[in-house]
C-alpha cells in the first residue's frame, strides 16, 4: 500500500471527527462551568488514589457482582483494544498496512490474539447487558425517567459496541485467507475465515478494507455520539472521582454567607446599619433554584451520570413508591444545563431569561421533600455522584428564599428557634430525666 486518495480521506475524516467532538465537548465544559466555584483541589494525593481505586479500579462497580463483572469486561476491552487503534491511525495516515506486524513479530500476533479474545468478551458482555435491559427488564432500567430517549440511548451504545467488535473480528478474518497477509491467522478470527473462503484475493482485499473502514469510521462516529449520550461517562468518570467529596458523607457544607451574617448578628459590637464593605457584590441567592446556583461539581456529576439507576434502586423514598429518584435529579440537572447552554449559544454568549428553572420546571418540590438524607444514593454511585448535595441546595432555596416548607416543618423550626428543641417543650425541663435515675 502507498499514500493516496484514501489517506487524504482518512486524514480529513479524522480531523473533522476530532474537531466536531472538541466543539461539543467544549460545550459540555462550558455548561459545567455555569456552576459556582468550589475548591476540590485539596488533598491531591488522596484524590489520585481515590480516582485510581474507584474509576480505574472499578471498586464501587463490583458491589453488584454481575453487572460489575461484565462492565469490567467492556471497560478493559475498550481500553486495551484501543491500543490497536494506534496502529490503525498510523496505517490510515501513512498508507501502511499493519505497520507494527513486522517490527513486533510474534509479540504482534500474541497481542492481536489477546485483543480478539477481549473483543469476544465485550460482545458477550454487551449481549448480557441488552438481555438485562430488554428481556429480563431489571426494574431500575424501567423507571419513569427512563422512558423514551434514555432507554434507546442505552441500547444504541451496546449495539454500536457489538458492531465495532464484529468489524474488528471480520477484518482479521477476511485477511486470514489472503496470500499477502502480513501476520496471522489469529485465535478467534480464523474460525470466521470460512465466511470468506469462496472469495477471490481481490474480493478478500476489498472485504478487509470495508471492515477496516467500518471499524475506524465507526469509532469516530461513536466518539461524536458521546457528547449527546449518557455514554460520556467514559470520559467524565475520571475527573468526577478525582473531584469527589472526600469528607464523611454526613458532613454537609456550612454556607459561608450565612456564617458571616450569623456572626454579625451575634456580635454585640457589630453595627447593623453599617454599609456593606467596598466592592462587596450583591448578596447571592441562598441555595439553588437553577443550575447556575449549583456548583460546577454538581453539574459535572450530572454529565458523568450514565443512568445506571443504582442510586434510585437504593433510595428508601423511591423503593416505597415516592416520586423521588436520585437518578432523575441528575438527569434533570443535565437537561437543564443543556437548555441553558443552548440558550447562551442562541443569544450570543449571554443567558436570556427563559422564565424557567431547574426547580418546578424539571424537579418538583414533592421529589425534594421526600428525601431522608440517608446517603444511600451517594453510597451506591459507582462514580461518586452526589445527588444529595443538589437536593439540599434546592431545599435551602425553598426554605431560606421562599419560606415555602410544609407547615409541620415550619412549626419544627419555630420550636428549635424558641425552645431549643424541635418540639414544644420548655428548655428548663431538659434535664428532668436526670432526677429519675
Amino acid at each position: 500500500m502507498s499514500f493516496g486518495i484514501a489517506n487524504i480521506i482518512f486524514l480529513a475524516a479524522l480531523i473533522i471527527a476530532i474537531a466536531i467532538f472538541a466543539k461539543n465537548a467544549g460545550k459540555i465544559r462550558r455548561n459545567i462551568m455555569l456552576g459556582k466555584d468550589v475548591n476540590r483541589s485539596d488533598r491531591k494525593g488522596e484524590r489520585w488514589k481515590n480516582m485510581g481505586l474507584v474509576a480505574f479500579g472499578q471498586s464501587k462497580m463490583v458491589k453488584r457482582p454481575i453487572a460489575g463483572f461484565f462492565h469490567i469486561l467492556i471497560y478493559v476491552g475498550f481500553v486495551l483494544i484501543n491500543i490497536e487503534v494506534l496502529e490503525i491511525l498510523i496505517d490510515g495516515v501513512f498508507g501502511t498496512h499493519r505497520v507494527l506486524a513486522s517490527p513486533l513479530g510474534a509479540v504482534y500476533t500474541t497481542a492481536i490474539n489477546f485483543f480478539e479474545v477481549l473483543a469476544v468478551l465485550v460482545i458477550v458482555a454487551c449481549v448480557v447487558f441488552l438481555w438485562r435491559r430488554n428481556v429480563q427488564r431489571l426494574p431500575r432500567f424501567h423507571k419513569d425517567e427512563m422512558k423514551g430517549w434514555p432507554t434507546k440511548d442505552g441500547n444504541y451504545i451496546l449495539i454500536i459496541e457489538i458492531v465495532l467488535m464484529f468489524a474488528l473480528l471480520l477484518m482479521n478474518a477476511s485477511e486470514a485467507n489472503m496470500e499477502a497477509a502480513v501476520a496471522g491467522p489469529y485465535l478467534v478470527s480464523q474460525h470466521l475465515a470460512s465466511f470468506f473462503s469462496g472469495m477471490s484475493q481481490e474480493g478478500l482485499h476489498t472485504a478487509e478494507r470495508v471492515f477496516w473502514w467500518a471499524h475506524i469510521l465507526g469509532i469516530l462516529a461513536f466518539l461524536n455520539y458521546l457528547p449527546f449520550s449518557k455514554h460520556f461517562h467514559i470520559i467524565l468518570a475520571f475527573p468526577n472521582t478525582w473531584y469527589a467529596n472526600l469528607n464523611p458523607k454526613g458532613k454537609f457544607d456550612n454556607n459561608e454567607t450565612v456564617t458571616r451574617e450569623v456572626k454579625m448578628m451575634m456580635d454585640p459590637s457589630a453595627d447593623p446599619y453599617a454599609a456593606p464593605a467596598e466592592g462587596q457584590a450583591e448578596p447571592e441567592r441562598f441555595g439553588a433554584k437553577d443550575v447556575m446556583d449549583l456548583d460546577w461539581v454538581n453539574i459535572m456529576n450530572a454529565y458523568a451520570c450514565t443512568e445506571c439507576g443504582r442510586c434510585t434502586a437504593e433510595c428508601p423514598a423511591n423503593q416505597t413508591g415516592k416520586k423521588l429518584s436520585p437518578r432523575k435529579i441528575m438527569m434533570d440537572v443535565r437537561d437543564r444545563a443543556d437548555i441553558v447552554g443552548a440558550n447562551i449559544d442562541a443569544n450570543k454568549g449571554t443567558f436570556k431569561d427563559d422564565g424557567k428553572s431547574l426547580l418546578d420546571d424539571h424537579i418538583s418540590r414533592e421529589e425534594l421533600w421526600a428525601c431522608t438524607t440517608c446517603n444511600a444514593c451517594v453510597e451506591a454511585c459507582p462514580v461518586q455522584i452526589d445527588p444529595l448535595n443538589i437536593i439540599m441546595k434546592m431545599r435551602q432555596y425553598m426554605v431560606m428564599e421562599e419560606s415555602s416548607a410544609a407547615q409541620e416543618l415550619n412549626l419544627m423550626m419555630t420550636n428549635v428557634e424558641n425552645n431549643g428543641a424541635p418540639w414544644q417543650f420548655a428548655q428548663a425541663d431538659r434535664d428532668n430525666w436526670a432526677s429519675e435515675l
Binding site: V258, M265, M412, S435
Partner: protein, 264 residues
C-alpha cells in the same frame, strides 16, 4: 443500681471541676418518653463505670440538625454558634451522645464554626469502656437472644461506623442475625432529613414499614437500634405489624444494661 446523680456543667464549674467527657443528651433523649429511657440507661452505665461525666442540662439546645436538613442553614448556624459558645465556655474537649444526628453534626459540622471536640457515639464509647475493662458484663441475661441490628444512617453511611454496635451485640453473647440490607447498604428508617417532623410524601408504603418487614424476616426477639429516631420508627413499625407483644425494639445502651450485673 447506682443512686448517684449526673452533675451539670454549671455544678461542676462551681466546684472547680472538669469532667472527662460531656454527655450530650439531645432533644429526643431529653423530652421523648421512649428516648428518655435510653438516656437514663446510658447515664446509669456511665455512673456505674465510674466515668467522670457531666451534662449541659438546661443549657443544652438543639444542635440544629433538623433545621439544616430541612434547608434552614440560617437557623442551624444560629443554634450551632450558640451551642459552641456554651461548649467552649466550659472548655469541653470530649463529647459522647446517644443520638447519631447530634453525633454527626457536632463531629462534622461544628469544627468549621469554631467548635472542635472529640465526639463519640455512645456505641463507640461503650465499646471502649468494655475493651478497657472499665465496664464488665457478667450477667449474660441476653445470652442466646435472637437480635438483629438496624444501622442508623448518620452513624453508618454518614460516618462509616458499622463495627461498634455489632461488637456490643457480640459482647452480650446474643444470637446476632443481619438483615438483608445492612451496613453500607442499610435501609433508612424513614426519619432522617427532618422527615421525623412531617408527613411522608405520597407513595405506596411508609419507609419504616418496609424496614420493619425486613427486620421481621430475620425472626428476631429484639430489634436493636442505636438512634432515638430509628427507635421510634421501628417501634411504630412493630406496632403496625401487631408484634409488639413478642418483639422489642431496644437501644444498645439498654441492651448492655439489661445484659446484666454490670460491674466496674
Amino acid at each position: 443500681m447506682s443512686q448517684q446523680s449526673i452533675p451539670s456543667m454549671a455544678d461542676m464549674m462551681a466546684q472547680g471541676k472538669q469532667p472527662e467527657v460531656l454527655f450530650w443528651v439531645g432533644c429526643a433523649g431529653s423530652f421523648d418518653d421512649r428516648a428518655k429511657k435510653i438516656t437514663k440507661a446510658f447515664a446509669r452505665i456511665l455512673l456505674q463505670a465510674g466515668v467522670n461525666v457531666a451534662i449541659l442540662g438546661k443549657e443544652e439546645s438543639c444542635t440544629g440538625d433538623p433545621a439544616k436538613r430541612a434547608g434552614n442553614e440560617f437557623l442551624f448556624q444560629m443554634q450551632a454558634m450558640t451551642n459552641i459558645e456554651v461548649l467552649n465556655g466550659y472548655e469541653i474537649k470530649k463529647i459522647v451522645t446517644t443520638c447519631p444526628h447530634c453525633f454527626n453534626t457536632l463531629k462534622n459540622e461544628y469544627p468549621a464554626l469554631g467548635g472542635n471536640y472529640e465526639v463519640m457515639h455512645h456505641t463507640q464509647y461503650l465499646k471502649e469502656l468494655l475493651e478497657s475493662g472499665k465496664l464488665k458484663i457478667e450477667g449474660g441475661k441476653l445470652k442466646g437472644k435472637r437480635i438483629t441490628f438496624h444501622d442508623p444512617c448518620y452513624l453508618g453511611r454518614a460516618n462509616g461506623e458499622y463495627e461498634a454496635p455489632r461488637k456490643l451485640i457480640e459482647t452480650i453473647e446474643a444470637e446476632f442475625v443481619e438483615m438483608r440490607r445492612c451496613k453500607s447498604k442499610g435501609l433508612c428508617c424513614g426519619a432522617g432529613g427532618a422527615q421525623m417532623f412531617k408527613e411522608p410524601e405520597k407513595g405506596n408504603k411508609d419507609i419504616n414499614i418496609e424496614r420493619t418487614e425486613e427486620a421481621l424476616e430475620t425472626q428476631p426477639e429484639i430489634i436493636a437500634a442505636a438512634c432515638p429516631f430509628c427507635n421510634t420508627m421501628m417501634s411504630d413499625g412493630v406496632k403496625n405489624k401487631e408484634k409488639e407483644g413478642s418483639i422489642k425494639v431496644l437501644d444498645l445502651a439498654e441492651l448492655v444494661e439489661m445484659a446484666g450485673d454490670l460491674s466496674s
